[in-house]
Amino acid sequence: MFEFLSKLFGGFEGSKSRAKERLRLVLVHDRASLSPGLVEALKEELIQVITKYLEIDEEGLEVNFDKGDDSVALIANIPVKSVKRSAR
């Protein structure tokens, strides 16, 4: 009864959820392209963390944002040379 009434009196989703969804997505794009330094900084720190456990080809490391129609993914391609003995 209450659910029905609250639906009737404005509980359903209006256009704002579309706005919020579109805004979220556009901001991921904006924020990613805003500072070119961001990807570099991210790369640096990724290397620092990963080299604790793995020996990687730092030159071959690639980090990109892959922008689809309704999603954005962080794609990292990290060539591994070997697993560190101490990490096993």
């Binding site: 009864m1 209450f2 609250s6 989703e13 209006g14 706005a19 919020k20 924020r31």
Partner: protein, 266 residues
């Protein structure tokens, strides 16, 4: 030493100038000494919102170029006299006539005398924005609950950080409670989710703002206006007082109805 606060938005037309005028007047009404600086060079506006357009002799450019003394260019408010003054923007010359270094020197001088120096920034992210933020300690970002304004606010927050102005505070302007209620306008918490910065205040959309601007009298001094109340609350928060955000969400009828249904009502 006074505080220097820049009021900015990225997107134009969200109410920066109205906000500056009302917060300045609100702070003066609370006994503070306030100087308002219009940094929108070439597009002077704060003077008409304050109703002081007929009193301008010198402007910001005259001051930084040394053609007059700072004191001569400051226009006293109609109501608050020398407790609330305006430094108008130059109207005619090109917008890079003033440098960020000059702005910094100017605000340093003003903060000696005033408790609050409020800088009304131009829209955009170019030279005028850099001038406006140069001398500021903190920033207030004004937005409205629409997608373009929130997007630009996000961008501005990033640029403020790049200018080493951390932790800006947000004012959400022109909220329409009935639209929020039916889910056709982003709510305060929606915007909070997205921008994730401190909310300094929420101002309801109010037709009386247009009337008060027509008259050149900031609405903050109108005791009957809801928007005026919102600005008074923000002014008190700027003085460190804890004032809860205005509740724009709940319609009294609806509240009563919910309580009735959940069996709470007597």
């Amino acid at each position: 030493m006074g505080k220097v606060i820049v009021i900015t938005s990225g997107k134009g037309g969200v109410g920066k100038t109205t906000t500056t005028a009302n917060l300045g007047t609100g702070l003066a009404a609370l006994g503070q000494k306030v100087c308002l600086v219009d940094t929108d060079i070439g597009l002077r506006n704060l003077d008409v919102v304050m109703g002081l357009e007929n009193r301008i002799v010198y402007d910001l450019l005259h001051v930084v170029e040394g053609q007059c003394r700072l004191r001569q260019a400051l226009i006293k408010d109609k109501q608050f006299g020398d407790r609330l003054v305006l430094l108008p923007a130059p109207q005619t010359r090109e917008k890079d006539a003033v440098t960020p270094e000059q702005m910094k020197a100017l605000t340093e001088e003003l903060r000696e005398e005033y408790d609050f120096v409020l800088l009304d920034s131009p829209a955009g992210i170019e030279h005028g924005f850099k001038n406006a933020v140069a001398g500021a300690d903190t920033a207030i970002v004004v937005t409205t609950p629409e997608i373009a304004a929130v997007r630009d606010a996000d961008r501005i927050i990033g640029l403020l950080e790049a200018a080493e102005l951390y932790d800006p505070q947000l004012i959400i302007n022109r909220v329409r409670p009935n639209m929020v209620r039916r889910g056709d306008m982003m709510s305060i918490s929606d915007i909070d989710d997205i921008l994730a910065i401190d909310i300094l205040g929420v101002v309801p959309d109010d037709q009386d703002i247009i009337v008060s601007t027509n008259k050149g009298e900031p609405i903050v001094t109108d005791p009957k206006s809801k928007a005026g109340q919102a600005y008074r609350n923000i002014a008190r928060r700027l003085l460190g007082e804890e004032v809860p955000l205005m509740n724009l969400q709940e319609r009294k009828m609806m509240h009563w109805f919910k309580r009735l249904l959940s069996g709470e009502a007597q």
